[in-house]
């Protein structure tokens, strides 16, 4: 029982600690070390190579020279040959980062080829790959003509695949619409705009903007303000996870916003929510997920919609005893510095009393050397407990409001811990009927003094103590248990009740004799006081009490078996030793063999006797038929005896009986024939 409670306590405590960390911090060095491991190996395709190189570029990790060399070789090979558009697309993407040495003529050839495919392409994916390839060529070789003559037509054919809810279809003959496809379409449209030889009609761009707003209406949401996109249809040909879907939309929207002249007006909290979604994943263990996360964050880091700023706390636990400072960090998603701003605590309240604010509007000081905002003087009226602090980010430059998404009021749970004072501990043995004090012991729970008490079933035991917070208020912990443990390891746990200011428990032994199973003897007393915000939670022995309980009556409840140790229940079981019957003593083999030969002696004697008696086969029938029957008769008997031997060696009773039945019929027949023949012969002899 005690271990169970201990486990529960640890669980509660860890849960409360885990629950505190709700705001994910920006990308940190942990990401960088994992990235080096995840993308360290060789790449099977250019797509993988691109993902690795792009992640390294974003995170500022240097490429290994041999990786660049081998990948460049692959890129040049791919660009030279007539590989599919998808491979060209990734080759160009890699080339955009690595800047391999590619002949300008090669770009010209590709541009001509890809332009041809743009007009023929029927599916969204093909269009996306061709247009994106052209955009990449434009960036990498400025002298190549990549401009689309029929930009309006291509724009229209992509737009024709859009649905009323802002999602896109993969092709005109595929009725299912997809959010992932919307991301691809937006990126393709952005490409068309940047490749257009004449400017695209502004009204068309505005309809796409509306599509984006509609798409953001279908965004999914968690309770903590995290936003993400998910694929709605089920049973599609390829199901995209919410991470890749969200990352596709982010890529599309940010690319589209960067090429148009106006601004896409998306609510800042949704953009921040998307950032929260990517950061909330932590560090993915899968290379594809890792790339999606890091690339999307990089796009959010520098986009024209709104740049999310992430408020994070290195620690959400404030210790009253240590008097350290409450620190807040504000960064962009990739961890770089935010523009000049002030962090304010709008208000703070106890998590169980939302309406009564502890304090309101405090400004945090900015520590420039460390880039953190510090609450230098922690308000005096904050006692131990769990609080919710409401932060707000105020940008110094009011124009920045349009550029940055700060997320308005940010609720952060803060744990204020402190040392709880334990006082007035007292343990008393009372006479039950009179209520007079038999023995009274004062206890200092801070030390390790133990008491020795004795009581009988007519007495009571009273134990009381007080808990006060550093501010002098009575404190009510999550757990206050008194534990009585008998010598035989039988345990009884009592919850210590709270009566206003102090904790008190009265154990009336008369009422407890049944519960104690009439077990007299020494009981060890243990006290457990614990709480998540109590820095000095303790579990300490108080001493022991010698109990004299009455004799066990006839009808009393039997003593239950001790509960099994929960940790051993799942452990290995004791090995099962198989006990076999010891083999019987056998006589020496020689003796047995001697007796085997001895048993043959009477048989030999029998044969010798037969010879001496002059036995002969003269009576054996001489004519053909009876002789055959005679031989068959003897063979039949021999067969039955052989069958018996087989039965002894391996056959079972049923097969034996069946065969015996058959042989028996045969034997009866031939036996009858031969014996009746013999009988007739002898009777003839007699009569003669």
């Amino acid at each position: 029982m005690a271990r169970y409670l201990g486990g529960l306590l640890a669980l509660l405590f860890s849960a409360s600690i885990c629950g505190a960390v709700t705001i994910p911090g920006p990308i940190s060095d942990a990401h960088r070390s994992v990235a080096s491991e995840l993308f360290g190996g060789s790449f099977s395709s250019l797509e993988e190579a691109y993902e690795a190189i792009r992640v390294f570029e974003i995170l500022g990790i240097g490429n290994k020279p041999d990786v660049s060399a081998t990948t460049c070789k692959q890129v040049v090979e791919n660009l030279g040959s007539s590989s599919p558009v998808k491979d060209l697309f990734y080759a160009l993407k890699v080339n955009g980062i690595l800047k391999c040495k590619v002949n300008a003529d090669v770009f010209k050839d590709i541009a001509v080829r890809v332009k041809a495919t743009v007009n023929d392409a029927s599916t969204l994916v093909d269009m996306y790959h061709s247009i994106a390839s052209l955009v990449l060529i434009k960036d990498q070789a400025s002298d190549v003509d990549v401009l689309l003559a029929d930009a309006d037509g291509i724009f229209h054919s992509i737009k024709a695949l859009s649905q009323s809810d802002g999602r896109w279809r993969y092709s005109s003959d595929n009725p299912e619409s997809s959010t992932f496809a919307a991301g691809l379409a937006l990126e393709a449209l952005a490409g068309v705009i940047s490749l257009a030889s004449s400017e695209i009609d502004q009204s068309r761009v505005n309809t796409v903007k509306n599509d984006i707003l509609k798409l953001f209406d279908s965004i999914e949401k968690y309770d903590d303000g995290t936003f993400y996109f998910d694929e709605k249809f089920v049973g599609g040909r390829e199901h995209q996870a919410s991470l890749s879907t969200t990352s596709s939309v982010v890529r599309g929207v940010t690319t589209f916003a960067s090429v148009i002249s106006g601004k896409v007006n998306l609510p800042g909290n949704k953009v921040l929510g998307l950032a929260k979604f990517f950061l909330g994943i932590g560090i993915p263990g899968d290379a594809k997920d890792f790339f999606n996360q890091v690339e999307s964050l990089a796009l959010l880091e520098n986009n024209r919609v709104s740049i999310p700023l992430v408020l994070s706390l290195p620690e959400t636990v404030y210790s009253l005893s240590k008097k350290d400072q409450l620190k807040v960090r504000v960064n962009t998603v990739l961890g770089s510095a935010a523009p000049p701003l002030t962090v304010k605590i709008v208000r703070a309240f106890r998590s169980d009393a939302k309406d009564s604010a502890i304090f309101e509007s405090k400004e945090l000081q900015y520590d420039e050397s460390n880039g953190i905002h510090v609450l230098e003087v922690f308000p005096d009226n904050v006692d131990v407990g769990t609080y919710v602090f409401v932060f707000e980010i105020v940008l110094h430059d009011s124009a920045g409001e349009n550029v940055f998404a700060t997320g308005g009021q940010i609720h952060v749970p803060i744990y204020v811990t402190g040392i709880i004072k334990v006082s007035n501990a007292e343990i008393v043995v009372l006479d039950s009927d009179l209520g007079s004090v038999e023995t009274q012991k004062k206890l200092d729970l801070a030390g390790n003094v133990v008491v020795e008490l004795s009581a009988n079933h007519l007495q009571k035991l009273r134990f009381s103590f007080q808990l006060t917070t550093p501010h002098g208020h009575p404190f009510k912990p999550h757990q206050a248990f008194l534990n009585l443990k008998h010598e035989t390891n039988h345990e009884h746990v009592f919850v210590v009740g709270n009566t206003g200011k102090k904790f008190e428990i009265i154990l009336d032994f008369l009422g407890l004799v049944e519960k104690f199973y009439y077990l007299s003897g020494r009981y060890d007393i243990e006290l457990t006081v614990g709480d998540a915000v109590m820095e000095n939670s303790f579990l300490r022995p108080l001493g022991h009490v010698d109990l004299e309980l009455p004799e066990t009556p006839e009808k009393a409840v039997r003593l239950p078996p001790l509960p099994l140790d929960p940790y051993s229940r799942y452990g290995p079981k004791a090995e099962i030793a198989h006990i076999f019957r010891a083999p019987e003593k056998r006589p020496p083999q020689n003796l047995s063999l001697t007796f085997l030969s001895l048993t043959l002696l009477p048989f030999i004697g029998f044969l010798v006797g037969l010879l001496r008696l002059g036995v002969n086969f003269k009576n054996f029938p001489s004519s053909a038929a009876p002789a055959t029957y005679a031989i068959l008769f003897h063979l039949g008997i021999a067969a039955v005896l052989l069958l018996y031997v087989l039965f002894w060696l391996k056959l079972d009773l049923f097969t034996t009986l069946k065969t015996v039945g058959l042989l028996g019929v045969f034997l009866m027949f031939v036996g009858h024939r031969i014996l009746s023949h013999l009988a007739s012969t002898s009777s003839k002899l007699k009569s003669a």
């Binding site: 003796l591 007796f595 048989f603 004697g605 029998f606 039955v640 009773l653 014996l675």
Partner: protein, 115 residues
């Protein structure tokens, strides 16, 4: 006195033997067979007395096989003996058939018991 008694015994046995010599040969064969079975049983009893009774069912089946077949042989002898008027009408071949059948049944049981 002692000498005369041993002589008497010798005389007795000689008389018995000469009387027995007149027995028909087929009865002698059966007697010989009975002796063979009984001695085999005796040897097994001696063996089990020496080494203890471990494969007891084997011992039982061995001894009972011998004793059983001896008893059956004695029955056969009774039926075949012409001086027994009781079985005058019974052909010796019929008696032999009975003997064979009983032996087969007996040994089926014995084999089952052998273990």
């Amino acid at each position: 006195m002692a000498r005369s008694s041993s002589k008497d015994a010798q005389d007795l046995f000689r008389a018995l033997w000469s009387a027995y010599a007149a027995t028909p040969t087929n009865l002698k064969i059966i007697d010989l067979y009975v002796m063979f079975a009984v001695f085999t049983a005796l040897i097994q009893v001696v063996y089990i007395a020496l080494v203890g009774s471990f494969p007891f069912n084997s011992f039982l089946s061995g001894v009972l096989s011998c004793v059983g077949t001896a008893v059956l042989a004695v029955c056969l002898r009774i039926q075949v003996n012409k001086e027994n008027k009781e079985f005058k009408d019974l052909a010796p071949e019929r008696a032999f058939a009975d003997f064979v059948l009983c032996n087969l049944v007996l040994h089926l049981v014995i084999m089952n018991f052998l273990g």
